[in-house]
Symmetry: C2
Subunit: 333 residues, 2 copies
């Protein structure tokens, strides 16, 4: 907070040039002193991803601090890179838009959250742009070096096991607790589960360690072939994306959903696990021998089903359709 | 317009998944089928740039068609890559946000403009994201391969000539004509100048050819050293950026401003040239021998002054301050 002498300073008091000058404190290299930032590629292929986060759609100040928002903006993108087999995060660019009445304090805290996440996952703030707007908005483009594993959604094959890197539903539960519009009866939950859920929503972790273990544990007898995505738009959605791209049917085990400890045992809560969203875990379809090695090295991971030949959809392993009774799926439009 | 059966379809009618599926028609490779897009680096360094464009700040439907807006969003970013010595445009990612009531027709035309510009400058649509928002917004991240010329704003040296790749002020004049709020008396202008100005505003060109000629014409006796930026925020602003980064004084020739043919000869119009903005020309500080070679190969280019040791600012070559009487400088906040 080098320049943060006055928490009430407005962006309109500063003007674009001074805003950009202040943002320099967060950049080691970058686009502010030049028109672009340079990326040294080390002769390897890169992977790139852009995500936009809009106030009142993806974040709001009731449920998250500005530091949370900055952190999450990076973690969301890093999760996408992880789901594509990133070996090293190079960095991000940030497009930030906010009304002129926005305080510098808010912007500064957003960048502190961004910096904290970059410290955690690696990578630098490469540059970006800022502008006034009616609504606060962050657009993050993340770039990383691709590793040797080829993770594409279209890589699943019949016979694969479907494994997730951790529990699902916590983030949506945390949001519900923060909004006090409890969509479920949470009276039986312990405080520790509630706090875990709130943290999962406000400061999610990208599945970078899960990816590293996936790479480290691969048996030599199988090729570098696995299908993956992250569960940012919900677990079932992630499985369906792999089914569509790979033209396979996912058979999910209704009795073995990746729920958290102390998760209530009923169908309503199962739906939170399947559709909650913003879980940012890896959802991977891979050969059984590799899946078992990964399960052994990552205690939080779980087999949720298997891939079979058939119509590209996800069904229960008993052949029944997966029904959704409540409207908790996340739609951006 | 493969899927454009109904111009009145709203984004809210389609939902995110169908929007993304439709956007696939514009992508050869990309982030829609996977979480990221892959970039093959050919073992060279890359340059990256992010720009955001917000409705009613950077564009509006009174003065530009959606195709214009898509084109311009790409050209703006390519201009930044050109000012950093790009050798080949790899591609862009697009973050698009718009209210749910926005027509698919609008989005489709934005992407047609983007595609047209990519066809012109090279590069592919690598992927992106979309979301609903209160205000229409585009965030473009462009990536290119860096060539052998090292163009940094900090590379200017006393003794350099300052050369621009083309005339300035046309885009701002075009905007004024489109808004019919003429900031100058345009009664004496020919229709051809007016049309040129409107085109400069609606469908600007990135200075890619100017960069190629700059590289091709370099005399062997000088190193690959030049300072450059593009004049997106105005000619004087661009010169000042180089002065600040290079710690030099720019001495500008008041009698040799880079005005267009038929440009009225008075101080008010000079200010349009100096501060108009969105010109997207290269502003380069370079050794005289290289500058002269560039001038010979690029008829539209012009020497506007020279660099000297001194306080980092731009002044007239007679030592007088450059005054601004009207408020036409562009501020994003």
């Amino acid at each position: 907070m080098l320049n943060n002498k006055n928490d009430n300073e407005k962006l309109s008091d500063l003007g674009e040039e001074r805003i950009l000058q202040r943002l320099k404190q967060y950049m080691e290299v970058g686009q502010i002193d030049d028109d672009t930032a340079v990326i040294q590629t080390k002769a390897k292929d890169l992977i790139i991803n852009t995500d936009i986060l809009i106030e009142d759609i993806h974040f709001n100040e009731t449920t998250s601090t500005p530091k949370n928002i900055g952190w999450k903006a990076v973690a969301v993108n890093v999760a996408d890179l992880a789901a594509s087999g990133v070996e090293e995060i190079i960095g991000i660019t940030v497009g930030l838009a906010a009304p002129p009445s926005t305080s510098w304090h808010w912007v500064d805290n957003i960048y502190q959250g961004i910096q904290a996440a970059l410290n955690e996952y690696g990578g630098k703030l490469l540059g970006g742009d800022c502008s006034s707007s009616k609504q606060r908005m962050l657009s993050i483009t993340a770039i990383g070096i691709k590793g040797k594993v080829n993770l594409h959604r279209s890589n699943a094959k019949p016979g694969d096991l479907i494994v997730v890197s951790g529990p699902h539903g916590l983030s949506r539960l945390g949001l519900s607790l923060l909004l006090s519009n409890n969509i479920k009866d949470t009276s039986q939950l312990s405080d520790s589960v509630k706090l875990k859920a709130i943290k999962a929503h406000q400061e999610p972790q990208a599945p970078v360690i899960a990816l590293q273990k996936l790479i480290q544990c691969k048996p030599k007898t199988v090729p570098w072939r696995a299908a993956a995505t992250d569960s940012s738009d919900g677990l079932l959605n992630a499985v369906k994306c792999i089914c569509k791209s790979s033209n396979c049917t996912a058979l999910l085990d209704q009795t073995n959903l990746p729920i958290s400890n102390e998760w209530p045992n009923n169908k309503n809560w199962d739906e939170l696990c399947l559709h909650g969203g913003e879980d940012f875990e890896l959802v991977v379809s891979l050969p059984a021998i590799w899946a078992k090695a990964w399960l052994g090295s990552l205690p939080e991971s779980k087999v949720i089903g298997k891939m079979s030949a058939g119509y590209p959809e996800a069904i229960w392993s008993n052949g029944k359709k997966i029904k959704t009774s409540s409207k908790i799926e996340f739609e951006h439009f």
